[in-house]
């Protein structure tokens, strides 16, 4: 899978979520009146999450995200930028596509003729 700015953001978000999961499990442990069963379940879940993170879970999330975006792209019949999920990705794709293209200046009459009424 091609690495992109969008994926880096997702990995970062997953790391933040992992830290939240750890701290909430810690909060459950440290509360003196907490129900034992709930505490044990939270601890077991946090261990399970920690075991699954970071690689397996990240890959799963990215796969799901890509599937979602691909689904929308397919629906929209988007062929040019198939894995777009964030503006950064669009710009990255544009930079890649720009190589080998001539430098153009948009003529004033061309810009003036464009209208938002066409949408």
């Amino acid at each position: 899978m091609k690495s992109s700015i969008g994926e880096a953001r997702i990995k970062e978000a997953l790391r933040a979520r992992q830290m939240c999961a750890r701290s909430s499990a810690h909060a459950v442990h440290s509360h003196p009146h907490e129900n034992h069963k709930r505490r044990d379940r939270a601890f077991a879940n946090s261990r399970l999450r920690n075991k699954r993170y970071p690689e397996e879970e990240t890959q799963r999330k990215l796969k799901e995200l890509n599937a979602a975006v691909a689904n929308i792209s397919k629906y929209l019949n988007v062929q040019q930028v198939p894995n777009v999920s964030f503006l950064d990705d669009v710009l990255l794709a544009l930079e890649l596509k720009q190589s080998g293209l001539p430098e153009v200046t948009l003529p004033q009459e061309f810009i003036d003729a464009l209208s938002s009424d066409d949408f």
Binding site: L65, L87, V90, P102, Q108, I111, L114, S116, F119
Partner: protein
């Protein structure tokens, strides 16, 4: 429900979805248009978003806006090129003059990218984010999106397929307020349309 952009009473923490007709004037302004109607629209959208920001609200759009702008510029520049070489179809142009067609194709691509760059600059400067619905169950979400799209189209004959898709995407992204310059949207009652 439809409200004029100028008479909207701002409330805090509101998400505003902008369709392509609302983003395009900003892109044209960034590209240096002298078209007074577009400049006036760009000023109104910018002023509205500035007001929204002061109320902790913000504007967003989807990648559909970029796709629509790209397709529009591509079609227009392709038509202009075909008129210049007196051809009806791009395929005919490629068959009769492949070298020239390839050079024109690169120019068209560069023009599309230039306009998208202006659009990206305008979005960044207005503080509008480009978002996509990120979902856990992709198949289920895709199904819901398509259903919402079909429902909008079924209920409102005045709106076209792309408009309905903007509404479905915006709703999926949690927006209830939609900014547009397309008056056909004013017939839609499920969302709050801000126009003019």
């Amino acid at each position: 429900m439809a409200t004029l952009l100028a008479s909207f009473a701002h409330k805090p923490d509101t998400l505003f979805y902008l369709d392509t007709s609302a983003v395009f004037p900003l892109a044209l302004q960034a590209a240096g248009t002298q078209n007074q109607l577009e400049l006036d629209r760009a000023r109104r959208v910018s002023a509205f978003l500035d007001h929204a920001k002061r109320n902790s609200s913000r504007g967003l759009c989807s990648v559909l806006v970029l796709e629509e702008i790209a397709a529009h510029i591509r079609n227009k520049t392709q038509r202009d090129a075909l008129t210049r070489v007196r051809c009806d179809k791009w395929r005919d142009f490629c068959d009769t003059d492949p070298d020239n067609a390839e050079a024109e194709g690169k120019k068209i691509q560069a023009t599309v990218l230039k306009m998208l760059t202006h659009t990206a600059d305008a979005l960044a400067s207005a503080g509008i984010t480009v978002e996509q619905p990120v979902v856990i169950n992709a198949a289920e979400a895709g199904k819901k999106l398509r259903k919402a799209h079909r429902d909008f189209l079924r209920h409102y004959h005045a709106i076209d397929s792309m408009d309905a898709l903007h509404m479905a995407l915006g709703s999926t992204l949690g927006c209830k307020h939609f900014i547009t310059f397309d008056k056909h949207w004013t017939s839609v009652t499920e969302i709050e349309v801000l126009y003019n």
